[in-house]
């Protein structure tokens, strides 16, 4: 399977993400320039972290108007896998591919630290290499990661089981202390209803090698490989059943 990493002016995790996909996961990976109109036949689009357009107006608010993002939107609507990391998550929210919005962290601090997140659903294309309830240690680095959604939307997200990751302590307990940025429901990552789009604030590409202190982030990339490469060989009845369930 082939990955594409989208570059915006101000992206700064683009090459880290490329490194994790190309050199660690050993999969063909191309860089996609935000002004292009062609996704180059990739199987999965990754929107990397950073500060697209300097976070002007709101985080991710300008990037969503890039020509390539219109292609990404159509790709996602057609069932293509899209992963948004940090600023990429913010862009997906602004684009309307994921519900809700980000506001400034509750303590107004830029948070750059390792956090623990609990896998709430291990049946998604982004988490199937994990176990439900598994605790991943992955770093965050953001100013606007305080997830917000109006009460009705939040209830719907919870009802649909769209919350994929929640901030937790080392033992997997969802506590107020572990909720470093003040997100509603300790939400660290959500998927769309269909399950082909995921956004998360932690940076899996920064936790993909033992040298970096944690390999837990690889779980997400491994899950994508499991989902997409298995699908290509033969559609299994189980996969179809799951799609209907979602």
């Amino acid at each position: 399977m082939k990955f594409g990493v989208v570059q915006f002016p101000g992206s700064n995790c683009d090459f880290d993400t490329y490194h994790a996909l190309r050199r660690v996961m050993k999969r063909p990976t191309v860089m996609l320039w935000h002004k292009d109109h062609d996704l180059q036949g990739v199987d999965c689009v990754v929107l990397p972290g950073g500060f697209s357009y300097g976070d002007y107006l709101r985080s991710g608010a300008i990037a969503r108007f890039s020509p390539l993002m219109q292609q990404v939107k159509a790709f996602a609507r057609g069932g293509g896998r899209v992963l948004g990391i940090c600023n990429g998550f913010q862009i997906l929210l602004e684009l309307g591919l994921l519900p809700g919005a980000m506001i400034r962290n509750k303590n107004l601090k830029f948070l750059c630290q390792h956090v623990h997140v609990r896998v709430e659903d291990a049946r998604t294309d982004f988490t199937r290499a994990a176990k439900k309830g598994q605790v991943l240690r992955i770093p965050i680095a953001h100013f606007d990661g305080n997830y917000y959604a109006p009460a009705r939307t939040l209830a719907e997200i919870e009802r649909n089981g769209q919350v994929v990751f929640r901030y937790c302590d080392a033992d997997g307990r969802i506590t107020a202390e572990a909720n470093v940025n003040g997100s509603l429901g300790n939400i660290a990552g959500i998927r769309n209803k269909e399950g082909n789009v995921l956004g998360l604030m932690p940076h899996p590409e920064r936790a993909s090698e033992a040298l970096l202190g944690s390999e837990d982030g690889r779980t997400i990339f491994e899950s994508l490989l499991l989902s997409l490469e298995r699908r290509k060989t033969a559609p299994r009845p189980a996969a179809r059943k799951k799609a209907r369930h979602d």
Binding site: A61, I103, R104, N105, N107, L108, Y148, P150
Partner: protein
Amino acid sequence: MKVRVLVSFKDSVLDPQGQTVKNALHTMGYAAVKDVRQGKVFELELEGATRKEAEALVPEIARRVLANPIIEKFEWDILKGR
């Protein structure tokens, strides 16, 4: 025509920056300040737009770009021209 658009958080959304400003004001002794909400101001210069056109255009721009309707509200007025 020059218009001004004010964007601020909806009342239901927590405004951490406004809260911090309020706390600072309290520290300085301005006990009368009950609440602070922080927002953004945009001034748009519109060319050749009539008042009627502006009434359609400005809210559209505010909704689509300047404000995120999930968390923010906006109001606007005409500063210059008619």
